[in-house]
Symmetry: D3
Subunit: 235 residues, 6 copies
């Protein structure tokens, strides 16, 4: 594994470009219930990036903590606008392709629809203007394939999978206190006060989460993801 | 010291707001000669933030690696535009003041004029629209007071002070290889290929740098900075 | 049913505001295989809007044909940028709330992720700044609940549901010629030439589509949607 | 006449490009006195587009109802900003020229100066960057040549010509009630409350309007316009 | 007459605000045939501003030379974009109203439609957000009332009126060489190479221009304008 | 010396392009104590531009009075945003290089950090996209080399140098009344009310200023500047 920023510019010149994957981990600073840290999404993205680099020759960029989220009526949550996130991703990608990398993975631990669209909108512009391959997904695109199987159909934000994964990834930051309450209602409504709908910040019940489950999910994600990376990037 | 993102939103509610300094470290991903890592500016900002938190009750935000720099014809350098950086800082500050903090320090390890103006332009907008105190500087605003005294008048980018500081802060990332060549010329010209002017990426001679000098400079910065923080924020 | 634009400004003054739903139909101009017109998404949104107005007192705004789509390497497809679509929706909503309506439904026949995020980003800004309720969804959010049940799990763009619905809604514009070919591959890749992946513009097999199926799906959508509208808007 | 959106993408491939005029009708949703519908400007643009297509081989784009107007203190009027309108027109034109059309007419039923400048600013950018001919005018640029001749010198918004034309084009939407009052004053002033100057939304007296006059004006416009199109586009 | 910028900030404090007109002269740097300087539009705006200040208590802002024009394929012509001009006017007006002036005249010697719309769009925003009166016109809005009377109907850019006025205002900058050629054609077309239509940059014949005619036109403008100012601003 | 705008477009065609310096003087409208006019920065930039043209073949553009400044709580100060200033400079430079000039000097009499960054950000974009040399500085970059020598170390805004220079350049606009008071404090703080820190708008003591000192400083600036111009532009 190589951290992009640990290198000097002279080291950098010697880097292989063609058979290397550049990974940009993106997260958020978002409430994840009373039991998970605000960094949860970023922690998971960083974990996935590091795991990939064990199997695939990779250069990892500094992770972006500052994502876009609508859960910003929960204390400590920080959100940046669609435009800010898109510009940030776009500018970073511009520099990455300037240095001749052609295989880029953006892995987002956060999967909000505006957040994802901001990154996608930046990436599509880069792809249209350059010869480069970009893969972009949230690890939750894969993790939630397990819904209805390993976990209930409705498992969601700060729920069983997410809590279990965090127990495996950053056990030092996970608390026991897993409250859950969901008032339902409001489907398809544009909402700016989610704390009125799920006051504990958990969208599904996290009780029952275990480190073992987290490891199983992480393995599932990694197996699928490594396969996709190899296929799509010929790595 | 408290990392903002280590907290849950419930932890966050209990945070003191009035007598706490929120610190946002900002750096860059910029060439620093053949001997210093691309992360140098960010490393120094993070170091300063952590040092402050030993003396002043602080909450530290995730550091921003992605700054603006004109040295982008050196391999590995990443730059984001003025607009991107300004938006990012602005959005983060908006969230910080939403959570009722009123004492904010932005410490930038990078001191490029467009980079600094982007942060300043975001901060002045926040100050005009809200009741909040923001201090903003580069640690080099203080470090370079030592020019002509501890180090030569012309000490600069990746030179004696910077190399010495990095030897004290991140010795694991510092290399021995300190080349220096400066073709001079081009004063006040708008330049987009700095590698033609100082091909080794060092704007002054770093040879002679020592960990001891670095520690001395760091102490000088911290002493001055803590004093300024206490005065300006009544902390 | 009332078309907003059929009124004079004097008629308009007499309109009930409190118990009326303003409906903004949004679509796209996008390839839908060799058998469906470029207007398909818009046609379906208009159909839904009109059907709602039979059950709920409604004022219908002129529909927006110009949406955002990535399928723009198929002939005739027109796409507008995220920013354009967001601004358009935002400005329209500003005028709608200026005239004191508080219950707004945006129904999009197109469900692309950037398209949806653009509308959502406009709507969330309006909701944050005003006292108004906005419901926003694609009719396909509901229609695809039928996947794995009435239609195969993988039913998608220009497939069985969409073709059947168009046979029920605009039979005059539906052609018999339903080709389907999907090269698979490219999952999670940022793609700017979808015609290389599904050359006929159909993402699932439309053969077997019938008007009866279309009517059944339309009824399913309307039943669910009317219920949601009544609940969320107390109408 | 061909509606762009009635086609499938396969139909579209067969379209002649060189000797075909693409027509984009643009209007507004604007008060037009107590006797004319908010759609008046758009209705007239659509009428003109359809009439042209009887004489010239044309493909007609979906009309844009959402224009820019300063009369937005009259109930029901909807305005979009200069920027929104310009972006919308620009993006649409980008797609039109992507599909190799080189002869485009933008016909606006609304003639407000900011509205017209927004469209013009988009079109000039397209013309500078591409090889394409764009004609852009309001039908009122031609209709008002009849001032001082067929109608009084001061005939204007919602007055004799406009009312007569609407009687010929959309008689179902025209009401008898033609009030007129103009307080004068305010010449060259920047005004944001036009209802204080002409409370009935009519800028000149519409009484005396007839369907016959409307037809005569429409014929005059069409004759002039067809001639201009043929000359300028060699069609 | 008072030049805004001649004052110290202490002088400024003593300025009357209520019965004073702030004048912002706007021009362009645009070809005006082989006989008139690029500054012509600005010269005329400055002249008018100064003349007003002889009759009305005024504070004159530094004039803006940098306007928007489409004639930018003639050598030396400088154009700024709609957005730049609008922002510039907006920011200046913001400062003017900050200092409590409520009567503002923007007089533009240039009358291009995009140029005028940019200024208008800035001014309307200011008027909507503040309590201030803004008058905005081109002196040519008045001057061209003389078409068909003192000068031919088709008198236009760099023609009889404009040349005569410049002979009266800046005789030192007027040359004898008045060429005129107009290829006609292109009505309503979006044109980016006007030099192909009127190669000498004159849109109507300037021969026959005299200083006396210029003075007459100037007097006509001033009489009308002073009257309008007095009426609209109660000055 | 040639004023760009005094020329006709025909004169312009005959201009030498290769061995000519285009000069754009930029200033501000900013308080300069009770003794100096709001135009001080612009006056000095114009003076420098004119002086250069005595030694170097030059074409001088109309000067820009409207700069960016944070001192906008002093009466009469006008500020434009970073974005406005950057756009203005960028658009002007675009036109200048369109007319084939390759040697451009931007001389700013104002040296605020955001103001300077705005101009720099415009200029760097131009340099990256075109083959052109741009020199950009404030005359104060040179003048303040005299600090600690001809004037005290802390000489600053509206102080000894600036007052003396204005006595030499625009004696008609300089007043005797030189008050000075500086509350200190606030170093590195983001400040939006500078009048609370130096109520008289003078950042250092201007008493003792003389025309002779001003002339000496001006000569120093000109000597250095002419040398730099000759070196950098081979003029």
């Amino acid at each position: 594994m190589v951290n992009w920023t640990d290198l000097t510019f002279e080291d950098f010149k010697k880097l292989n470009r063609d058979n290397v994957l550049v990974i940009l981990p993106v997260g958020s600073i978002e409430e994840h219930g009373p039991h998970l840290p605000l960094s949860s999404d970023t922690d998971q993205a960083i974990f996935v990036a590091n795991k990939i680099s064990e199997k695939i020759e990779s250069v990892i960029l500094p992770s972006i903590y500052y994502g876009n989220t609508d859960l910003d009526d929960f204390e400590g949550t920080i959100t940046v606008s669609f435009d800010t996130l898109r510009s940030l991703i776009y500018d970073i990608l511009l520099s990455v392709i300037k240095w001749k990398f052609t295989k880029i993975l953006i892995i987002s631990g956060h999967a909000g629809s505006i957040h994802m669209a901001a990154i996608r909108d930046a990436a599509i512009k880069i792809v249209r203007e350059n010869t480069v391959k970009i893969m972009f997904l949230s690890d939750y695109d894969i993790a939630y394939e397990l819904r209805g199987n390993l976990v209930p159909e409705n498992d969601s934000h700060a729920g069983l999978i997410e809590t279990s994964r965090m127990m495996a990834i950053r056990p030092d930051l996970v608390k026991k206190d897993t409250k859950f309450l969901f008032h339902g209602k409001g489907k398809y409504m544009i909402i700016d006060n989610y704390s009125s709908i799920y006051p504990y910040g958990t969208l599904s019940d996290p009780s029952g989460a275990t480190r073992e489950l987290g490891e199983k999910v992480n393995e599932y994600i990694m197996e699928k993801l490594i396969k996709l990376i190899k296929e799509n990037f010929s790595l």
